[in-house]
Symmetry: C2
Subunit: 272 residues, 2 copies
Amino acid sequence: MENLERLAIHSITTKPWDLQTAVMKYKDAGVRGISIWKEAYEALGAKKAGQLAHSAGLDVVSLIRGGFFVHPVKEEREVRIARNLSMIHEAAELGAPHIVLVCGAHPNVRIEEARRQVAEGISEILPAAERERIKLAIEPLHPMYAADRSVINTLSEALDLCDYFESSHVGIVVDVYHTWWDPELHVQIERAGRGNRIFAFHVCDWKTPLEDMLEDRGLMGEGNIDIPSIRKTVEKAGFSGFVEVEIFSRRYWALDQDIWLGMIVDSYRKSV
Amino acid sequence: MENLERLAIHSITTKPWDLQTAVMKYKDAGVRGISIWKEAYEALGAKKAGQLAHSAGLDVVSLIRGGFFVHPVKEEREVRIARNLSMIHEAAELGAPHIVLVCGAHPNVRIEEARRQVAEGISEILPAAERERIKLAIEPLHPMYAADRSVINTLSEALDLCDYFESSHVGIVVDVYHTWWDPELHVQIERAGRGNRIFAFHVCDWKTPLEDMLEDRGLMGEGNIDIPSIRKTVEKAGFSGFVEVEIFSRRYWALDQDIWLGMIVDSYRKSV
């Protein structure tokens, strides 16, 4: 039986709860960390949201999510860079060590150009991140999102970006949902570990069939992903941070969220 | 303006038509090749289906589709191998130079074991394929199918399998839908070319958003894929075979298929 010392939950996983409720409920369930989505802290403001979590004894693990650097119009790209700069400041207020970057993609931008825009976006915000000591955690997204969410789709590609920036403030997220299929998964996690690039580890599961490409993620254990084996590689590579449960699911959001939280804790114990 | 000498269409692209109708209509439209799905030739039998196509002056480009080697139960895996062996014989009767392999996946088989079963399946059928001079064209499928259709999800992985078998009868399919997002796409096509491994080239497009993960493929030009640039790399790598249009789409199957065929020919001229 795994204890809960390393368990964190993303606020979006219990989307029907506001941040105050989520913090209280997570604490009562023995969860030790919370990853806070921008949508969840905006009502309170980042500073108060951070205080709320900390006074309940929860670590703020990640701020989610920056990035979205890709757009055909230059002015809109500048707006997005400004938004990322604000979020770096908000991460500091929140007490989050890093921002997760969903790098961006756009149906009207060809993939090579989109990848160039991602590198440009990160280079624009990196100096501020280093100044505020907020790390940038590049999350490669599943290739099924390459046309509309992120053109960074493999750990290999994300780590190439890290190598390009050569900053201790640029690293990666390993999310099992996005990467489980990758024949290079374990090798690239080892590579990430050698460079101290693993900033976060996200879990959920891959259901078959998916009823929705975005909001039908599975609870750990109900799908096809060998989570314990990935976790083992991540930890062998030197990562000792939180295991973050990040599940978007209309099906589970429709449940009583107390029951849902119980299911999450239970499946974390059994299947992670 | 591209002429139609290199244009082939998969029978499933005009699924409402039976094979006789498809052959006649393709011919009248100036299409030069047809790729025949098992479901489409079964009513006639492979031999008659091949004669039908050839007497209309169409090349039979591919038999689709063998593979599906992955299953938790050994007896079922043996059934599938037997089915592939029959299809090798049917390909010879049809006059198709190769069978496309959708290698298989199963929600209850972990990915590493599934990949082992794929290698085993191919090794079981390869001697018969060599004897009948039918090539096996491994088609890497998009990673979104890794839990239920194929655990071979990148060109790199498919080419590693080719290297493992070291047979002139094992090669790959480049399908833009499955591979367009891959940062190694062009490099791996070049690698495939050096080994004479490119047996087929399939086109369609990636719509945003996808309304269905299986049957909502786009017509060339309506999505995000830079098809001309991929085609250029494929041809530079030495491939001079047909460009095969393979589109599963409930939306397009619901159209008058004569109009749909006109749209295909038109978009081939403009966007491939």
